[in-house]
């Protein structure tokens, strides 16, 4: 396996160029998480108290890291769609016939997907600050970015895995949405997981996004369910696994 930096760079650059030329996509994908944040955040803030959230922390502060995790999940996984579009429009052939290791292609694609997801994650974080969400400080901000990257890598690669096995764009959107909803609902993005029934708790422990949200929450507001070390460990392992798997499946793509 060999890294072709020129190839990684240009595959990444193409994703960026296309991203910035499709402004409606940027705005559109920011809208949903912000609705959730504002409506749920201010709505629950006023009327419900979760016993597991320390009293000095507002619900909207608790919610913001979860919403960022959700936005990252959906945006990352949908970057598999760019592969399907390339298949449909024939451009994937241009990439696949190039003298470039398939690993480098996956890394380039992943870098592109991660960057766009990261841009959205950071935008949501900044908007949250504007609407009054309180975070711990600069170190927390930086450590949150590390978690954002890990979450994005995991789910961008998962999106590539889905895409390498599928042809149809609508089918892809349907399947990934079907997959992503339980993942974010069971990640602790909206509510603390401590009081869930035991069988549901086990499901949340198997969910990589749980550790992502926990890591984000620790970074941004200083509360955590597990430990940051465990969060990091799980995410690093999971994202590595996803990279390896997506490279393997990508190598098997036959374009026609």
């Amino acid at each position: 396996m060999k890294l072709h930096f020129n190839a990684i760079y240009i595959i990444w650059l193409r994703e960026m160029t296309r991203f910035f030329r499709a402004k409606s996509r940027v705005i559109g994908s920011l809208a949903m998480p912000l609705f959730f944040l504002v409506i749920l955040g201010f709505g629950f803030n006023a009327s419900i108290r979760f016993s597991d959230i320390p009293p000095e922390i507002d619900y909207i502060d608790f919610l913001a890291p979860g919403i960022i995790g959700m936005a990252l999940l959906f945006d990352s996984i949908s970057s598999g769609l760019t592969v399907l579009m390339d298949k449909q429009f024939g451009f994937l052939k241009e990439i696949m016939v190039a003298p470039v290791d398939r690993f480098s292609i996956v890394i380039g694609k992943t870098a592109g997907g991660v960057t766009t997801a990261l841009i959205q994650g950071i935008l949501i974080l900044l908007i949250s600050l504007v609407i009054g969400v309180k975070i711990t400080g600069v170190v927390g901000f930086l450590s949150a970015i590390v978690f954002m990257i890990l979450i994005s890598v995991s789910f961008v690669c998962l999106g590539l895995i889905f895409a390498s096995k599928m042809e149809d764009m609508h089918g892809f959107q349907l399947i990934t949405r079907l997959f992503a909803f339980p993942v974010f609902l069971l990640s602790g993005a909206f509510f603390p997981l401590d009081n869930l029934p035991v069988w549901l708790q086990y499901l949340t422990y198997m969910n990589p996004l749980t550790y992502g949200v926990d890591g984000l929450r620790h970074s941004l507001i200083g509360i955590t369910q597990f430990s940051v070390t465990l969060d990091l460990l799980v995410l690093v392992c999971f994202s590595t696994l996803m990279i390896i798997l997506s490279t393997y499946l990508f190598s098997g793509i036959e374009v026609d």
Partner: protein, 335 residues
Amino acid sequence: MYSIKTDKLTKKYGDLRAVDNISLNVKKDEIFGLLGPNGAGKTTIIKMLATLLKPTSGFAEVCGYNILSDQDAVRKSIGIVFQNPSTDIELTGRENLDFHARIYNMDKDVRQERIDEVLDLVELSDKADIFVKNYSGGMQRRLEIARGLMHYPNVLFLDEPTLGLDAQTRRSVWEYIKRLNKDEKITVVLTTHYMDEADYLCDRIVIIDHGKVIAHDSPANLKNSIGKDIISLQVADGKNFLNTLTAFDFIKGMELHDESLYESLYLSVEDGERMIPRIMDIAHKEGVIVQSVGLRKPTLEDVFLHFTGRTIRDQDTGKKEHFQRMVRERMRGTR
């Protein structure tokens, strides 16, 4: 010296042998044609040679590199223009070429220069910075050819380079192909189901039908191998003249067609140019008045007919290809 050699190359899709024991060779610096009707297996052969598809069995070498064990070296040595569009229409022409240059790891200083050079070659310099979705079909095709040439490949594959282009654009694409074969010293392998294209461009061809090679030679040799030129005569009293001509051995076959004002006589002969004066002599002696004379050489169409008993039909392109074209057409929007 061969650029490409294959031996019993085979690709099966389920029970269908799309490519069936194909053995062929392509000489260095020639223009080589894969000629056959739609569904013959041409694209499948190209894809295997370009490492995009794994053969079911058989052997193939491109520029001395095995297509299975030396994929990277093969990929470096070839350029390819696919049958279906494969540019990114959301990027400009120049951006498409830049993408190509970088993914082929070309040095920074040659990159810009080469981009301008190939743009110039296909006369797209003034359109380089507009989005490909605003290109016409012919311009897109030329851009793809330019892109295939970017990295100085030794072999350029062109899969149906003029499919769907109007007559004038076809002509100009033909001229580019001839020119770059000469100027860039590139071996060109093209597929086509147009007989005239293969005839005009190719030094040698294989004719393929149902995945099998049915002939492998230069167009001239192939046409000569089925022999006989066709002389057509327009005469006032064809029947009489036909009776007279039956006495001459050099005429291998005759046909008479009634056409309102006069009668047309078709004679099949060898070495047609030399035979016309002899026939005119005979006509003169018999007092037959000849209105006009024509000579037709056998075409590759006749060759195909000779070997398969069928004519090459221009069937519909596949459903998927049609869809890809449609999607791109729609995305192109108004120009």
